[in-house]
Amino acid sequence: MIELAWLIPVFPVIGVLINGFFGKNVGEKAGPIASVMAGLSFLVVLGIAVEMIFGAGGSHTVPLWTWVEAGSLSVSMSFLIDPLSTIMLLVVSGVGFLVHVYAVGYMHGDPGYPRFFTWLNLFMLSMFLLVLGDNYLVMFVGWEGVGLCSYLLIGFWYEKQSASDAGKKAFIVNRIGDAGFLLGMFLIWTLTGSLTYTEVFKAAPEMSAAAASAVGLLLFVGAIGKSAQIPLYVWLPDAMEGPTPVSALIHAATMVTAGVYMVARTSPIYVMGPDAMSVIAIVGALTGLFAASIGLVQNDIKRVLAYSTVSQLGFMFMALGVGAFAAGIFHLMTHAFFKGLLFLGSGSVIHALHHAPEEQQQDMRYMGGLKDKMPITYWTFLIGAIAIAGVPPLAGFWSKDEILANAFFTGHYTVWIMGTVAAFMTAFYMFRLIFMTFHGEMRVDHHAREHIHESPATMTVPLVILAVLSVIGGVIPGFPPEAGWIHRFLAPSLAKMPAGGHATEQGVHLMNAAAGGGHSGPAVVFLIILAIAVAVGGIALAWYMYVKDTEAPRRLYRSMPGIYYLLLGKYYIDEIYQTCIVEPTYKLMRGLWTFDAKVVDGAVNGSSLITVVSSRFSGIFDLRTVDGAVNGTASFIRFFSQVFKYLQSGMVQNYLFVMLLGIFVMLSAYLFR
């Protein structure tokens, strides 16, 4: 079955071609076609997964054709199937298929229906290339491909100026990240002479710490751009302009995790560059805390989820930073399930409120009391919230707790503290969202109230499936922590922290012990209890402020208005970028353009002094100039041509005088030489 791996990207290509070229006459059937294509890919992935999990495993490369050959550089378009890529394939194709089905219902009636599904399939194709590629170049093809699709899908409703701006912003910020990624690739090629994973990782151990860190940091710049970490996260909240299935698939489950996958894939190099790892850990923790804090006060339902995604990605990078690559991927998988569920849930809420005025459809202040109107959405949404908050036995707990445990045991205490505070905030804002939308009295616009109804089956079925996955998705692969099925399955394709390294003695023992046997030691029990306490505490605080005493939030915000507006305004990061990066480039751009037209062209076109003089001079003698001097030197020459012209006075004796003058000058030149 593995040899058929090339089939996976082929199905989306067929979908793109059908919907792309025959969009008009396919019309409403475009959705089902695209979903079938995604489904077929999912089946192939399942086949391969079964063969990998229950079969021999290991890593197989499926070569297709040699792509670029230039002297010593030779790169071929071929796929790599190994545990890491199988997990990623499962997540991508699984969640992708569910989102396709969900989108059939959600996008019903939209004029650009076939166009939407063409680009959705194109996204699946790029994501498959990114995950399947056996060398960095093919990964980069997928990398930019998903960047392009996110641009297209965010700007799907292109009449809205804000949507096309958001799309453009997303692409350019990604492009900045890609620039770093490219430089990382070049460094890898110059150091190891190849871009294929197997050869690169074979040569990784000889790399010096400085070189490995340089590669790591450069690649991490790419990851920051793609997975929306500080400072390049600004595009993700604006990306909510796109339709909700897009947000669910691209900006929650798959694309944003590409950075995490890339860092995990390059783990052998990262392992050799410890300070790159510590940078990743700190950035991850910072982003987690930072984004979670903004999420506390947001009123737009999708913005809250967007900041929650940024925060959870921070967690994943925290895991990778401390060396727990498997934990990072595990959290990636569980996050895909419950964040996908939350986004789709919010989608069905927005879908239900589409009769409300435009700006109220996503604003939680105009929701509330939807619990009994939309039972399935409510219950699945609740499961998702509990999972993300990290309450056992649901998925969030196992993956997030493991990350915090690893952070703790490997001595990154500051990172651990930030993570725990972020976890508390996560629990708080998730249940704030639940209570504001589903509980309390109905604040929905009155004439939109009777239209609220449960979403159709095509939308609710994926919600239920994802809810189930959110429940079992954590326990089955993740129990017992550190030694669950997923860790053993991923072990061969992820590098191990070296024995020395920066981890404390006790931490390493535990780590190796965990990889080997079960978890032991009183510290672990303490950690588990703390995590549960944090989660439940967050939920309780949210319950108290938004159900029991609804005035509490207003009082709190009035008591410290500075902080409230700071958080509401998203730390004014966007405004800072606008003033200190975007505006100066506009000014520079305008300046260079005038510089080009006036000076460079001017020097060529006629410096002002000369033209003024020659025009006044020629004005006197009513000269008719050809329209527009040819160039600066030209107008300089034209000035002299006027001079020469008017020396011909027509008087013979003048000519004779000039002739004699010439003889005299020649004579004097010789006599006085």
Binding site: W67, A70, L73, G145, E159, D178, L182
Partner: protein, 515 residues
């Protein structure tokens, strides 16, 4: 080698066609003229196909060689041939010619006869430049192309055509005149230090390169540099390009961007690098600095444009900055990337100009502000424009990326600082192109005239399709293209990276400069 003089046939067929039109066709028979011109150009493309199929990829030297002595007294011979570097350029020229002719059917209404005569003569000039292996012959063709282009811009151009035409003509002429000085200096240096015979034959002169003392090489390199840099155009010499592009008719700017700019870069790779190896090595930092400025400066100024054609013109400055960066990385990946990027730029910028021409023919305005929200009413046009735009900003999977990737990896190998700055060009490239795309295609359809816009008709799609197919082909499977260029590029790179030049040979005479 085929006994049939293939290259001469390909080069002079358009000229013969032009003469036939001039002599036997009256001004009124426009339909016959157009038909005949298309037939000539298509036939030209067909007979150039054997170059592609019968090209021996392992052979680094020149193929399809024809040599006939022309002016024996000064050692000039009609010596033509192609190798990896010029085979794709010749094919690109014949293809662009078809597109140029077909796309000007509706664009040009008055004086068609002279128009097609100029177009065909231009084709001969360009083809001649790429196949000439005798420096004199190269210079003759290099200058001949100026005259038809001068007429194309001057007679059928836009409002400020006279200014743009004379500026283009004089600017390039000034450059090539100084290049002539360089050629003559090399010609006599070869007499004194090289083979001792008076000859313009490139193959013989290739061997002389390293023997020339460095100081003379530097002077000659400066002369070559000015001649080719104006043509490329590189940073300080680029001001003629926007005027020439904006004022030229559609076919004119397609050919100008697609082929004429390549003569500059081709000149560097064919003449400057192998003939003046040590000087090229000495000039690398200077040239790379100029190219990087070109990349960033071109992109930034492009962003400030309000006229689409001027924007594309400045984007050409940026793209060709990349090509020059690749060429002066002086390693295999860099030069190969530069060569491929020449072809890619010809395809993507040519297509961009065609697309601007399509809209210009309907709305007769090139200001971005006059457009908006087009994607709703002209979907096919939008898709074509999107693909071309993505190819030009170098999206992986399309042709732009392969070229840019090789250039950057070559530059990185030379020194990571070069690549670091050049990478900024990629980001800026995405910025101005997307901003253009957004202002023209997205947003609301408020301008009433835009509603009346009709989508691309069959003819327009016909001449855009081959370019799009090429974009995907080179993007996904560049092996046949890279394979053909590799052997010759390796040879050039080996020639450039030769050891130190003799410092002190017969320099006495150099001092008496002013005499």
């Amino acid at each position: 080698m085929s006994n049939m003089p293939l290259l001469t046939l390909i080069t002079f067929l358009p000229a013969v066609g032009a003469v036939i039109i001039m002599l036997f066709m009256k001004k009124e028979q426009t339909k016959a003229i157009k038909g005949f011109a298309t037939a000539v150009v298509v036939l030209d493309f067909l007979i150039s196909l054997p170059l592609w199929f019968r090209f021996d990829q392992s052979e680094a030297g020149f193929q399809f060689v024809e040599k006939v002595s022309w002016i024996p007294t000064i050692g000039v011979s009609y010596f033509v041939g192609i190798d990896g570097i010029s085979v794709l350029l010749v094919l690109l020229t014949t293809l662009t010619m078809i597109i140029g002719v077909v796309c000007s059917f509706t664009a040009i209404e008055e004086r068609e006869k002279e128009y097609y005569v100029c177009l065909l003569l231009l084709a001969t000039g360009m083809l001649g430049t790429f196949i000439a292996l005798d420096i004199f012959l190269f210079y003759v063709f290099f200058e001949i192309t100026l005259v038809p282009m001068y007429f194309l811009i001057g007679v059928w151009g836009g409002p400020r055509k006279l200014y743009a035409a004379i500026k283009f003509f004089l600017y390039t002429l000034f450059g090539s005149v100084l290049m002539l000085l360089g050629i003559l200096a090399y010609y006599f240096a070869n007499l004194k230090m090289g083979t001792g015979t008076l000859t313009f034959d490139l193959v013989e002169l290739y061997a002389v390169g390293p023997k020339i003392p460095l100081s003379l090489q530097i002077w000659i390199f400066l002369a070559f540099f000015i001649g080719f840099a104006i043509k490329v155009p590189m940073f300080p010499f680029h001001t003629w390009l926007p005027d020439a592009h904006v004022e030229a008719p559609t076919a004119g700017s397609v050919i100008l961007a697609g082929i004429l700019l390549k003569m500059g870069t081709y000149g560097f790779v064919r003449f400057a690098l192998p003939l003046l190896p040590q000087a090229s090595q000495v000039f690398v930092p200077f040239m790379v600095l100029l190219s990087i400025i070109g990349i960033i400066y071109g992109a930034l100024v492009a962003m400030a444009q309000t006229d689409i054609k001027k924007l594309v013109a400045y984007s050409s400055v940026s793209h060709l900055g990349f090509v020059m960066l690749g060429v002066f990385a002086l390693n295999e990946q860099g030069v190969l990337g530069g060569q491929l990027q020449m072809i890619n730029h010809g395809i993507s910028t040519g297509a961009l100009f065609l697309l601007v021409g399509v809209v210009y023919e309907r709305r007769h305005t090139r200001l971005i502000s006059d457009y908006g929200g087009l994607s709703k009413i002209v979907p096919v046009y939008t898709v074509l424009f999107a693909i071309t735009m993505l190819s030009s900003i170098g999206l992986p999977g399309l042709n732009g990326f392969v070229g840019e990737f090789l250039i950057l990896i070559g530059a990185f190998k030379k020194s990571y600082v070069y690549a670091a700055f050049a990478v900024i060009g990629i980001v800026l490239g995405a910025a101005y192109m997307l901003w253009l795309f957004q202002r023209v295609f997205f947003g609301t359809l408020d301008n009433p005239e835009n509603e009346k816009l009709t989508d691309c008709n069959a003819r327009e799609v016909l001449y855009l399709l081959p370019l799009v197919i090429l974009m995907f082909w080179i993007g996904l499977y560049p092996k046949p293209f890279l394979g053909r260029m590799e052997a010759s590029v390796k040879k050039v790179v080996k020639m450039v990276n030769v050891a130190e030049a003799p410092q002190k040979a017969a320099l006495g005479k150099m001092t008496k400069l002013e005499k």
